[in-house]
């Protein structure tokens, strides 16, 4: 009789324990579901945000701009001709002077600043928030022109050209 009572009590305790662990399972499962849902929503949010920004950017303009800028005829003259920006970069590298005595690097810097300023409007309210031009001579910074703010939404282009064994890299980036 005592044994039967004891057994019944034991069963009650076991079922109570089992019920509790079942509830815990539910809570755990619910928590996992909430975490998964939150992670998914964050991913969806990021995907949507990325999308809206991509529409504003037009990379081909940056690419064409570098090409066009390199072909511009400056007012720096050597014994043969008025030099293009591309030729002026190599002359600047070799510390050459223009026919009128000006330093080629000064002329180059001044010309590049004016060209970019006239081409890319970074004033408040405009689409372009900032730009950066870097000219690298054998991976060493030769010229750096920067204006406005740099943002995470940017588009850039790189052009490499060489004369003899010297390689020049031009990197232009615009922030939107």
């Amino acid at each position: 009789m005592i044994n039967k009572k004891g057994q019944k009590q034991k069963l009650r305790i076991f079922s109570a324990i089992r019920g509790k662990s079942g509830q815990e399972e539910f809570v755990g499962f619910g928590l996992i579901m909430i975490v998964v849902a939150v992670v998914l929503l964050i991913f969806v949010g990021f995907a949507l945000k990325k999308n809206s920004n991509a529409e504003l950017v037009e990379s081909y303009e940056v690419e064409s701009f570098i090409q066009t800028m390199l072909q511009y005829t400056t007012d720096c003259e050597d014994n043969l001709e008025f030099l293009s920006v591309q030729k002026l970069i190599f002359d600047c590298r070799e510390n050459e002077k223009c026919l009128d005595g000006r330093n080629t690097c000064n002329v180059l810097n001044e010309t590049l600043e004016k060209i970019i300023d006239a081409s890319w409007n970074v004033e408040t309210g405009s689409l372009v928030k900032g730009y950066e031009l870097i000219v690298l001579d054998e991976s060493v910074e030769m010229i750096k022109i920067q204006k406005g703010n740099s943002t995470n939404n940017y588009k850039g282009s790189k052009q490499i050209f060489s004369k003899g064994s010297n390689t020049i890299e031009i990197i232009f980036t615009t922030s939107y």
């Binding site: 849902a37 998914l40 090409q67 005829t73 006239a118």
Partner: protein, 170 residues
């Protein structure tokens, strides 16, 4: 009885959770898929716009070809274009564009001066072809080259310009 109810409830919750999970995954995949589509559509649009301006800039009517040294990309011969605008009516429907305008960007000139034979090259806007003002507008940077005289000698002068092309939306 209570145990069975709990079991049913558990299954119900499980089913609900699984459904919710798959719906969210579905939405996520849909967004990813549509973003890819949108991206490729924008890229295609960009390419087409670039191709339209580049095609025009490099066509025989506009291109510098070898008049200014080696063959330049996106180079427009201003001397050629200024003569072309006298005969632009003959090109009706030829370019597939409703407006073609070349705007000099650098060196800057005060105000907007439309180019004609009488004021060239002291001007900054060349209206090559103008049919109407409607339609989408695409533009790209081009080099605007001409022959300039200095001290009785001629040299190549290349400036920075933007070529805008309008085309009717269909």
């Amino acid at each position: 009885m209570v145990k069975a109810q709990i079991k049913i409830q558990q299954m119900l919750f499980m089913l609900l959770a699984i459904t919710l999970f798959f719906v969210l995954v579905g939405i996520f995949l849909l967004v990813l898929g549509s973003s890819g589509l949108k991206k490729s559509a924008i890229e295609l649009q960009e390419k087409n716009a670039l191709m339209l301006v580049t095609r025009l800039a490099n066509s025989p009517e506009f291109s510098c070809e070898e008049s200014f040294g080696s063959n330049k990309i996106n180079c427009v011969d201003a001397d050629k274009v200024i003569m072309l605008i006298q005969n632009s009516k003959k090109y009706d429907g030829f370019w597939g564009a409703s407006n073609i305008i070349i705007r000099k960007i650098y060196p800057e000139i005060d105000g907007e001066i439309v180019c004609s034979l009488s004021n060239y090259p002291n001007c900054n806007i060349i209206k090559v072809y103008s049919e109407n003002n409607d339609g989408a507008d695409v533009s790209n940077f081009v080099t605007l080259c001409r022959k300039e005289s200095s001290g009785g000698e001629y040299y190549d002068k290349c400036e920075l310009a933007k070529m805008s092309v309008s085309y009717e939306l269909r």
